[in-house]
Symmetry: C2
Subunit: 286 residues, 2 copies
């Protein structure tokens, strides 16, 4: 079952108009997040980012944030995804329009929510630096827009080289992120993640990791990274809202040691997620 423009219906009955600008021009945004036994993690933060991104594109979300949040919970229930973890995706497009780039007036945006079971990935992965560059010269590098094909190609490129995750540099040669995740590197004793201006999506998991690092007394900062920094990094961590934290065990063939900082942060992250799930399943007081 999926949620489309206010209704829950079977996916095979749901229809996207061929003139939807999400399809024809990638004119829209999305969010992916994880629900822990029916409890979406930092849903408020995801919806805030969606609304801010929509404002940047000049799209008015067709439903208030509270209504979208309720739809997410309703969809998890409709798919019997309250006792296991789920991957949620919220997609917002500008809606249908005639030929051409100019956004039509009075268009009704499309809002689509999907929820499927989430199966955890291994803690560690291999990674490689892709040849495709991240476009720091576009605001889209800082928005989770539907124009995601660069990421698809980067992932495909490194998979052909035997790596699981692709790392992208920007056009200035600085490290930006991974195709599916934000990136942190342990450089000396500092956990460093590239600043948003380097062409980085302000990831919710990225922010969560920065907060957890502070809680745990791990020195963390936003600072530009060069490939040479990655070549010397003691640990490299990838973060996203689905797999949380993955430790890079091999980068372009170089083997990294098992990540101690990654393990500490991931432990704290899981504890936070588990406490949310418990809070949700706790019986209400009377």
């Amino acid at each position: 079952m999926i949620w489309l423009n206010g209704a829950i219906l079977a996916a095979e009955r749901a229809r996207i108009d061929p003139a939807d600008r999400g399809l024809t021009l990638a004119d829209g945004l999305f969010e992916t997040l994880r629900a822990y036994r029916g409890k979406p993690f930092r849903l408020g933060d995801h919806l805030k980012r969606l609304v801010e991104g929509a404002a940047a594109l000049g799209i008015s979300p067709p439903y208030p944030t509270a209504e979208i949040a309720a739809a997410v919970v309703e969809l998890l229930q409709a798919n019997a995804l309250t006792a296991q973890d789920a991957a949620l995706r919220i997609t917002l497009t500008r809606g249908t329009g005639p030929r051409g780039l100019a956004p039509p007036k009075g268009v009704h945006p499309t809002l689509l929510i999907t929820a499927v079971p989430y199966h955890p990935l291994p803690e560690a992965c291999s990674a490689a630096i892709a040849s495709i560059r991240r476009n720091e010269g576009s605001p889209l590098s800082r928005l989770k827009s539907l124009a995601y094909l660069d990421n698809v190609l980067a992932a495909r490129e490194v998979e052909e080289r035997g790596a699981e995750e692709a790392i992208l540099l920007n056009n200035a040669g600085k490290v930006a992120c991974a195709a599916r995740a934000n990136l942190f590197a342990l450089v000396g004793d500092h956990l460093v993640t590239p600043p948003i201006g380097d062409g980085v999506l302000p990831g919710i998991a990225r922010r969560t990791v920065l907060e957890l690092a502070q809680d745990l007394g791990i020195a963390a900062e936003e600072r530009s990274l060069r490939p040479a920094d990655l070549a010397q990094a003691r640990e490299i961590l990838l973060t996203n809202s689905l797999f949380e934290i993955r430790s890079v065990a091999k980068l372009d063939g170089r083997v990294l040691v098992a990540g101690e900082i990654a393990a500490r942060l991931h432990g704290a992250y899981r504890e936070m997620a588990a406490s949310l799930a418990v809070a949700m399943t706790k019986p209400e007081s009377h």
Copy 2:
């Protein structure tokens, strides 16, 4: 009426799957071209570019080129667009897939063709250089992919400043193209257009103009352009397969003289298009 995966049907009855990767990840390509009284201009070149782009993305077109060409003509007839000019769009996506970037195996690509009446635009337009940069560091800058949102935003940005067409620089500060077109500048006595490597789509109208320039004895070359070159250019021309050639009469406030080279090239372009249309409507010999 539209053509979708082998059938002509009413647009309101056509259904795109919400899991189509064209929608979720901009994972696909498109072509736009003009039909002159039922005769698509350089359709073979457009289909060749589509097939080459699909190969670059690892998508196998679901129909042979000849069948797509026949579908285009059939759709023009179904929409009674044989006595007037039409704007055609051919959209190819990787097809539907589960969550995630990795392209699924055995997926069936989506092919969609639309045809609507084409109404000519004025010969001259105003233009402005957008702040959004073209990503020369991605192969997508040289493919007509569905990841078109940068162009939408660039067009929107300059329209808010009162200009009709947006010119994009790449991250190295070189001129790449316009949001809807390729660009030529008359610098001294040379008609110059940026090379593909600067983040440029190899436009069919661009190539046509390069050929026509040669026929007319106008010195033309592919060479990188800087904004300073545009500030000194005697003429600036925008080319695309729908409006053919538009002369930039005003660039960021600077008024340019009426384009003599633009007029000569546009005359030759129209003659070529008209001869195609005549060839098509000529009664068959018995």
